[in-house]
């Protein structure tokens, strides 16, 4: 049965148009993909649509999947993040156009400018599996954590983050890069799930 196979085998089966292998990958990874879509989009219906899009794209493009470029889980997470951010940016552009046109935008107030807590990411993180990620995030300063959250999970451009935080663009850009590289260093430390 497909359920017991490893991801690489399942991806090979999907490339051979085995629908049960796709279903097995879905059962294994959909909760993570859905959580990520939901976290970025903050909208259940949209997150469901992107979830289906991600696995549909996996089905359609599995023949082009190259295992040496990353695991199926990595591929799915990248795809989910990318598609969710695309959708989020599109929504924001539309809301911006609506606002420019002076039209009502009930959705904009729901999603807009974000009265989100700066430590929303930290609140979202839980579970033993992700202890290292949480610990690494805690090593960042509050300002770094906020900037990374706005950029990495909320899909804001550097200019948007600068405007929201009231800080120069260059400062924001440098802070995000520095924070991400610090996270990289922390997560790659041997004994902390490091990969080298």
């Amino acid at each position: 049965m497909a359920e017991g196979r490893d991801d690489l085998t399942l991806m090979e089966l999907v490339a051979r148009r085995d629908a049960s292998a796709l279903d097995a990958l879905y059962l294994r990874h959909s909760s993570l993909v859905f959580a990520l879509c939901l976290r970025i989009l903050r909208n259940h219906a949209e997150a469901e649509e992107v979830l289906q899009e991600v696995f549909w794209e996996l089905w359609r493009s599995s023949g082009r999947y190259a295992a040496e470029r990353g695991s199926a889980r990595v591929y799915l997470v990248q795809l989910a993040r990318s598609r969710s951010l695309d959708r989020l940016r599109l929504r924001r552009r539309r809301e911006s156009l609506l606002a420019d046109a002076g039209g009502p935008s009930a959705v904009a107030s729901e999603l807009g400018g974000d009265g989100r807590a700066p430590n929303a990411l930290a609140a979202a993180l839980s579970g033993e599996e992700n202890r290292q990620v949480r610990a690494a995030m805690c090593e960042l300063s509050e300002a770094e954590r906020r900037a990374v959250t706005l950029s990495f999970f909320d899909g804001l451009s550097h200019a948007e983050i600068a405007a929201q935080l009231g800080e120069p663009l260059g400062t924001v850009k440098t802070r995000i890069r520095r924070a991400l590289l610090r996270l990289r260093g922390l997560l790659m430390t041997p004994g902390n799930g490091g990969v080298r």
């Binding site: 629908a19 796709l22 279903d23 879905y26 059962l27 959909s30 909760s31 993570l32 993909v33 859905f34 959580a35 990520l36 939901l38 976290r39 219906a45 949209e46 469901e48 649509e49 979830l51 289906q52 899009e53 696995f55 549909w56 089905w59 040496e68 470029r69 990353g70 695991s71 889980r73 990595v74 997470v77 990248q78 989910a80 993040r81 990318s82 951010l85 959708r87 929504r91 990411l121 979202a124 993180l125 839980s126 579970g127 992700n130 990620v133 995030m137 950029s151 990495f152 999970f153 995000i176 890069r177 991400l180 590289l181 996270l183 990289r184 997560l187 790659m188 799930g193 990969v195 080298r196």
Partner: protein, 256 residues
């Protein structure tokens, strides 16, 4: 710049935090196939995914799994021309039926080979166009799937309505459908912003209970309205007359 010096930049590229000339330079270098940097990029992508996967998992709705499975099954089915052509011909009660086949034989005897060949070619071309159009709809990145189900009591047809909101193409596919009563056909309906019905076409049902309709979504639809299939005596009726729908769903297409 050495490949070792590119490691930080590769991580930022994986995190989508690199832009302008830096990104272009790095992509150009990767395009040359540098094994060291490609390996480092894969490592960076894994790390970025790990950051993203720090989120607590959320159980995905079963309806998404069903919709995905139906879409995959449908694509597989549509990619098999023989199976669909046979189903389509059954649905149409087409030229393969014995009586018509006898007529064709008579035509052949009369020397009308060219005519029969043209009919078959046109039919095959029509089937291929239908199949391709349906594949275009369900494969579109702008596709939205709406789940359809039969009444709680009575027979249980179920399926999906696939709508490509970019092209306007709309494809209904359902299974476990009972053929309409004699003298009636199944008609697909939407509603407009005022709740008034909009007729979208006649749904064909094959002898094995598969229903399909390829049509255009009416421009005036309410994207948060309803979709229904009813049995009607008049395929051109302006509004449904049946007491109940044989298939029903809710659009709820707020985000597109």
């Amino acid at each position: 710049m050495t490949c070792e010096e590119r490691r930080d930049a590769l991580f930022l590229l994986a995190a989508d935090e690199l832009d302008g000339a830096e990104r272009d330079e790095l992509r150009a270098h990767l395009a040359e196939g540098c094994p060291q940097c490609l390996g480092a990029l894969a490592e960076a992508q894994a790390l970025v995914a790990r950051l993203a996967s720090g989120i607590e998992p959320v159980t995905a709705p079963e309806s998404v799994r069903r919709a995905l499975a139906a879409r995959v099954a449908l694509e597989t089915r549509l990619a098999e021309p023989q199976a669909l052509d046979a189903a389509t011909r059954r649905a149409r009660g087409g030229w393969a039926r014995p009586a018509l086949a006898a007529g064709i034989a008579a035509l052949l005897a009369g020397g009308a080979t060219v005519l029969v060949t043209q009919i078959r070619v046109r039919s095959a071309e029509r089937d291929a166009r239908t199949r391709q159009a349906a594949l275009d709809v369900i494969g579109s990145p702008y596709m939205r799937a709406i789940e359809l189900s039969g009444p709680a009591l009575g027979f249980q047809g179920h399926g999906h309505l696939y709508w490509d909101y970019h092209s306007g193409g709309c494809y209904l596919r359902a299974t476990a459908m009972r053929a309409p009563d004699a003298g009636k056909v199944y008609v697909l309906w939407f509603t407009d912003a005022d709740g008034a019905p909009l007729r979208a076409g006649v749904v064909e049902v094959s002898s094995d209970g598969e229903a399909q309709l390829l049509t255009e979504m009416p421009r005036e639809i309410d994207v948060t309205g309803e979709v229904a299939v009813t049995a009607e005596a008049d395929p051109h009726a302006e509004r449904p007359t049946a007491d109940a729908a044989v298939l029903h769903g809710e659009l709820q297409l707020l985000h597109f």
